[in-house]
Symmetry: C2
Subunit: 198 residues, 2 copies
DNA sequence: CGCGACGTTGATTTGCCTCAACGATTGTGG
DNA sequence: CCACAATCGTTGAGGCAAATCAACGTCGCG
């Protein structure tokens, strides 16, 4: 098992001592995940914080009509978890599914708590990580309540150019809160040279 | 100056020692804010973390057309700040304005960093606070991309019944991402007994 | 090969916006 | 203390953005 990507990730924030790195061993497990495999399903508690070493995931909810709504993508060096369910132990309302074949590192609740206690730095590191995610999410809320679908799509491409290439359009549509049909029409409008306005 | 509300707030998460409480003095300032007074304006860096002791604030952005979009309310025992701007020192794109006459406690950046260093618990406390806010925001995103305006309004009233009474409807409309006119029509539809469907 | 996932297009419907107008309330300066 | 302005909520007519539904083409894969 190779913890290096995770250690590098932590040290992107604060350097760790050798002792601290040593504490990580045994608390973290590695898994290979196939395309379309779920690492969390609606109705079950979220048992792990998941760090994506390679591949890509989506976290989504299903509404009463059966429509799926992506609330987050997580590719390399991102964390994904239902934080509320993880801490409360209650059933999650979300699914987390691999969009690509993936390699992940996972930490269970009691292990993460152990690490928080024995590597106090981790409190700060995760505080900063969550703060950054919070700022991103705030901007997404702003976009969503203030812009048209086309503007949101262009912002998405601008902010995550790599995801724009990597993900199927129907997944992007679900993230943007629009139908795949309408995203297709937006893409057509963008691609075509300025339409006649007369 | 009375730090008790803030200390109580911190101790809602983890108890502090007397020494730790002592360290807070001198790092926190108290301010009385009038209705409609701004504590952050677009174009300026966010210099403080603000804890609301009494009153209520809104954080909003203004789009190119001049329309305001509320992205957050903060009443008693809530924090409000443009976290991104606070840490980066760059100009904020948000305003924070008092909706009611308010009493706040503020911490400046270097003071907060000082406290993080000397009261390591604070890293954990703020980690938990931000995580909770993150979960709330995630649910808001889900609502926004998956529900109609009426559903979002009912959820808002259910989740923040006190804010539903306290805030003017136009502020709620801005938070929900709809026009005040349309919120008015929603309220009428809700109030009226089940409309005839024939 | 045949099926399922994905993308596209078109016709129609609907949720919400825009604009305009009008009471009710609040607050404020003369 | 009154007059006036500003703020807030409501209502209605008309328009637009995006959803819905249905159909069809393509591709990759078992």
């Amino acid at each position: 098992m190779d913890l290096l990507p995770l250690i590098k990730h932590f040290e992107h924030y604060i350097a760790l001592t050798e002792d601290e790195k040593y504490l990580l061993h045994g608390k973290i497990s590695q898994r290979v995940i196939r395309r379309r495999q779920f690492i969390l399903q609606d109705g079950f508690p979220c048992q792990h914080y998941t760090f994506v070493v390679e591949g890509c995931f989506r976290m989504f909810a299903v509404d009463p009509k059966g429509t799926e709504h992506n609330i987050q993508f997580a590719a390399e060096n991102k964390w994904v978890a239902d934080i509320g369910s993880f801490h409360s132990g209650k059933a999650s309302g979300f699914f987390i599914e691999a969009i690509e074949p993936s390699l992940i590192l996972q930490i269970e609740k009691q292990d993460l708590y152990y690490l928080y206690t024995n590597i106090p730095k981790l409190d700060r590191i995760f505080k900063v990580i969550v703060e950054n995610n919070y700022v991103e999410l705030q901007n997404r809320v702003l976009q969503t309540i203030s812009s048209t679908a086309q503007e949101r799509y262009l912002t998405f491409l601008d902010q995550y150019p790599e995801l724009g290439l990597r993900l199927p359009n129907n997944q992007i549509a679900s993230y943007l809160g629009i139908t795949p049909e309408f995203l297709s029409k937006i893409r057509k409008a963008i691609a075509s040279p300025a339409p006649p306005h007369a």
